[in-house]
Amino acid sequence: MLQNSTIIMMSYIFFLYLVGLIVLYLIAKKVFFQLDFFIKIALSWLIGNSFLVVVLYGFFAIKKLDLINLTNFYFIFILTLVSSFFVSIKIIKSLNKSSLINIIFLIFILMFIYPLVVDSLYSFMLGWDAVGVWLFKAKVLFISSNINSFFASQDYLYTNKSHPIGIPLLISFYYRLVNYANDQTIQLYFLCYFINLIFLVFGFLRTLFRKIFHDLINLLIALSLLSTAIFINYSHNGYVDLALSSVFTMLLVLVYFFLNEKNKEIKLEYFMLIAISVGLALVIKNEGLFFTGVVLLVTGFLALKEGIFTNWKKLLFLFIILILFSFPFIYWQIYKYRLNIHFHLEGRYLPSLSSLNRLKTLFNYYLMEMLNTNKYYLTIIPLTFLFIVELTMSIVNYQFKNKSLLLLGIFLFQIGVYTYQYIITPLPFIIGLETSLERLVLQILPCFYLLVAIFLKEFILLVQKNK
């Protein structure tokens, strides 16, 4: 029988989807009906979280987190349900034969991840970063609305106080609903990021290879790529790297659609969705800053170059979105400055000559990680070979103006950032590398999978064209 805490968690998850769906419909109507069913679900989840984070940061800023309780939640939940009525009507009207197939695939995916749901409901938290950083901060936020003393104190410095508190706020929201720090059921919330990553990768592969592979084959590819040990271990263990990974992947997908869209109005809608996803990535972990920075730079530059900002009404909308979703990030920077909260890399932005020697070690570790079949099974090695062939084909055929190369650039930039971070880190280098590398790989691995898929499609098209 379902526990009360589980029912509340399910309501919370459903609420986040619903909020996301409504916001998606309101700001990007055209994209809403254009996107694949599974990408739409994944996007709703991320938008729902992004939206709630803005609200929670607002509550945090005015020290009113104690307004959150079960009664208020159900009141807002019912209001959301009622206001989602018009979206539901539109969705029902758009139902067709393929909707039934989507439902079948949805059930198949849920059956596949059912063991993980069971584990989320019947296990405890044990991971170091989960207990030491994310759940710790969530507990602190649950116990008191005013936590300046926690951040200003010399105690608990291992909790990485400089990391943004987006996920701890979302966790503490649930704690306030059940009225105790239930660090077991919260695993179901973390698992949602993983489930949505499956939806996203499957949805994207389906969109990309619609005419090339059967949908079932696309699903098997997605499940094969995402059922490796690394994803299973981090799917609900309280680490936020998979959550960040799913936002990075969503950003890559949105940038891909943005680059390949010709209609300026739809392009603007994609740009708004990118801005919202960037907002979420910025409040998960510090690593989100560089990836999102380069994504905004690339898409912003192209948006200006292609003159997509023609509709004043939509431009105003975009402006509001940018202000709203950048608020948590900006507020957090001010808060950190005021309370003198430092990031461990601060003041060490340039490498010394001796630290450059780390490059060779780093390369060895990167290579060893790639060849690790215990964590990644039969995925990274064959895909790397395939990727090399695809890129060679691209270069041989002078495809230098290929837009997908921009996506590759974003991906390589992020790897460069990780490498630079290892070079300048004041933490014990080898210990830090051994304990964090797999998590950094996890953050960008789905992006790598999608890049291989994107270039594979171009490879296939090129081969057929040459025939």
Partner: protein
């Protein structure tokens, strides 16, 4: 466009290989569920928590007993990933020793702050503890007693005044202690190192 069906067997093969390893996790997950559903006299949260390697610490955090933490295992030979390096808000950077035991104590007990002492500090700070107080330690008091004091030979050894005082204080404390057993858990977690042992004592007098 003609579908490249020639790749289908390869894709299905890779899926089956990955699924084979995935099903290994599956078994492990259901095993935990089986253990938990047998525990009917306690809440679901506690039933799950009772398989936690630090369950006894969690249980203590639910009480209002005063708690002392003895962290004796701080030698440099023991420095591994549990030693962390942070920028302090004031002053220089310094190394912090953070064991898994203190990590969980901090987490379970928050907002209570549990101060840690070395074994030596604890023994020498007499009169700070009273009945019902709890000592959590990474150091086994019983073994220490058995090795050094059990056969009374320690009284014949040549000792300084300070050492004699230490013996006296240790024995006085030791005879007031009751060992709270840390039970082995039924559920064995895959891919996880074994926890370093820890010991819990309650002052009964």
């Amino acid at each position: 466009m003609k579908k490249p069906t020639v790749f289908y067997p390869l894709i299905i093969f890779i899926f089956l290989v990955n699924y084979h390893f995935y099903s290994f996790y599956k078994q492990n997950f259901f095993q935990m569920k089986k253990i938990i559903t047998k525990k009917i006299n306690i809440s679901n949260y506690e039933a799950i928590q009772s398989e936690h390697p630090y369950y006894e610490i969690w249980k203590l955090a639910q009480t209002d007993n005063r708690v002392f933490l003895v962290m004796n295992n701080l030698d440099t030979g023991n420095v591994d990933y549990t030693t962390t390096y942070f920028k302090r808000l004031i002053g220089d950077k310094r190394n912090y020793y953070l064991s898994e035991l203190s990590l969980f104590i901090n987490y379970f007990f928050y907002p209570r702050k549990i101060e840690s002492f070395s074994f030596d500090q604890l023994i020498r700070s007499k009169n700070i503890y009273k009945k019902r107080d709890i000592i959590i330690s990474d150091f086994d008091f019983d073994s220490f007693y058995l090795i050094n004091y059990k056969d009374n030979s320690y009284i014949f050894k040549e000792k300084t005044e300070k050492e004699r005082q230490f013996d006296q204080q240790f024995l006085s404390l030791y005879h007031r202690l009751k060992n709270i057993k840390v039970f082995n858990k039924n559920f064995v977690i895959t891919n996880r190192h074994k926890e370093k042992p820890y010991f819990i004592y309650e002052l009964i007098k």
